[in-house]
């Protein structure tokens, strides 16, 4: 029993959810920051100036006890979110690049699940943006989900996330 408890201590930390494009646009650089969304609006993550490729490979939303309590106490009116954004590499736009079929918008909000603080299992409905990067990722406030994460001490943590893929840049000179 003591051994089991010690092994369970491995599961300390905070939960996380990851949105990632499965493609060759592996990530190139990363930034960590906090977004403050208010008025029940989604926290939106975009490429920003730090991603010269203008696309995102991966966004990891980090659970945080303090932020969860703020979201719960304000019923989502004030929703701070800690995120880690990995810029995608650029897609070289030349004759060998597969043709682009335009932007793809994902579901308004798929539910991502994190089990055992995300360390044991993750449910990640992968955006089907092969060959592209993410344009925006939107984390939607949901007090019930926050309650579940806090109530289970992060053992079961759902999060509602939407996403949009970015089309390739066009026109080589």
């Amino acid at each position: 029993m003591i051994r089991l408890l010690i092994a369970l201590l491995t599961l300390t930390g905070c939960w996380y959810h990851r949105v990632e494009v499965p493609s060759s646009v592996t990530y190139a650089s990363e930034e960590r920051f906090t977004l403050w969304a208010t008025g029940w609006r989604a926290a939106k993550i975009d490429a920003g100036d730090e991603c010269p490729s203008q696309t995102i490979k991966q966004v990891t939303v980090r659970g945080n006890w303090g932020y969860s309590l703020i979201r719960l106490a304000t019923l989502g009116l004030v929703a701070p979110t800690r995120v880690e954004r990995h810029c995608a590499r650029a897609r070289i736009d030349d004759a060998n690049t597969p043709p682009d079929t335009g932007a793809i918008t994902g579901p308004d909000g798929a539910t991502y699940w994190s089990i055992g603080l995300g360390k044991l299992m993750q449910y990640e409905p992968t955006p089907q943006c092969r060959g592209r990067g993410l344009d925006t990722v939107a984390v939607r406030p949901n007090p019930l989900f926050d309650l579940m994460s806090v109530g289970t001490v992060g053992l079961v943590s759902p999060l509602r996330i939407g996403w949009k893929c970015r089309p390739l840049s066009t026109g080589a000179p």
Binding site: T10, S24, T26, I92, T126
Partner: protein
Amino acid sequence: MPNAPTVIVKTNKVWTNWHETVRQKVASYVTIWNANPNVASIADYNATTVVLQKQIADALKRKLEIRAAGGTWSFSPVAATDGILINTQPLNYRFWPEPADLTSEWADRAESLVFAQCGMSIAELNEALQGRGRSLKTSGASNGQTIAGAIATGTHGSAIREGAIHDSVVGLHIVTGPDRHVWLERKTDSVVSDAWLAKLGAERLPDDEVFKAALVSLGCFGIVHGVMLESAEAFWLRAYRGTYQGNDPWEVISQFDFSQVAPHPGVEPYFFQSIFKPYASNSPPCFTLMYATANRPSGPAPERHDKWRPGDGAAEVVANITDLAGGTPKFLAEYLFKQMCPDIDGTCGRWGDMFWDTSTRGKSAGMAIGLPLANAQEAVEALQALNKSYKIPGILALRFVQSSEATLAFTRHAPVTCVLDIDGTLSKKMKDFQEAAWKELQSMGIPFTFHWGKLMPAEPGLVEQMYGQGTVEDWRKGCAAILPDPAARGLFQCGAVRGLGIDP
């Protein structure tokens, strides 16, 4: 007038590799983006060369080491430095040389060449080559390495008639100092014309021995900015994996005798790998066989990720449990083996489809030991016996590579190097076993070498022992030919190389 590349500098950052085996505080972590990231042009490539030269000048001024990091795929600290670490991942231009860019000997083979910027990943190379009806000849099991990182560490696959990735390299563009960058190629097999060199503004350095030394450079020969790579005509692979059902697996492995191997007896596969249970010495191995064909065979495409996948800490949980339990329980060992070796029945794809994105995250431990194929059986049997005292949470895998002429290639054992992988979760048991394993091979008198990008002991003198004093000296001479100034050579060293006692 080209745009300027984007340079993002972070100071005092703690850098971690993909497998979380290395944490290193760096004075400056410099991410460089090409001026126009989406459209490759030689003018913008050259502008990035200038930025790399400025970074070297900055390192000289601040008296810091400077290293280039690629996909951060290495388990070992080979890329790490406490000085300036260049993140080359965004540098992914590729160029397709024209006949005029090449010598007359290569002009009619222009379509086989690709000039890849250092940060181009194996995945990107696969995709780009596929678009032109070409293919890499080999690659590692997954595709996240950058091309410069893969060759600098001797990354290999298991295409049994091919060498490692660096054996396909025919030219290197290396930035060596604030005022100098060179084009290194074999003197006996010159590839590019003066017109190509004029485009890059690089100084030609034709030398077979220096070229062989620089292929597996461990990042010590300057910053490799571009790599000229020879590709193969595109082909298809049809893959099978399962428990070997024949009589003696060592007849297959040691002779490459596939006459009795299902599902295509008598047909030699392009790719062959064998995985052994470390805890069951009499258990048959799991074979992976991939057969090459010119046209697409019938069969499903490889499966991709499931929506449910292990979390980042799953490997660590397994590691802790097995350490606390005093070893891996049989049921868990069986489960892990099945996870590492799922059955495959005739899936088809191009090279890039078969060796795809890795979904493995978190702390893991990989050691790869190169040894002569003739010694593979006694090595595996010895380690299976050794494991009775350790019960590791991992596997023993064999992969096969034609020997390389690169000076410090760990795939140097002729005619075929057998690469014995000891892979699993990063537990104390695993680390202890890996340590005991190479010492066991040493005590048995089996010649061995270590994969530079995987876990290896940092023991001064061991590299000379494995490669021979003369070989290490040849490598140092190669470095000195590119970097004649000792101060410049010191710039590109790191703790890991010094710890091995081979710093040039």
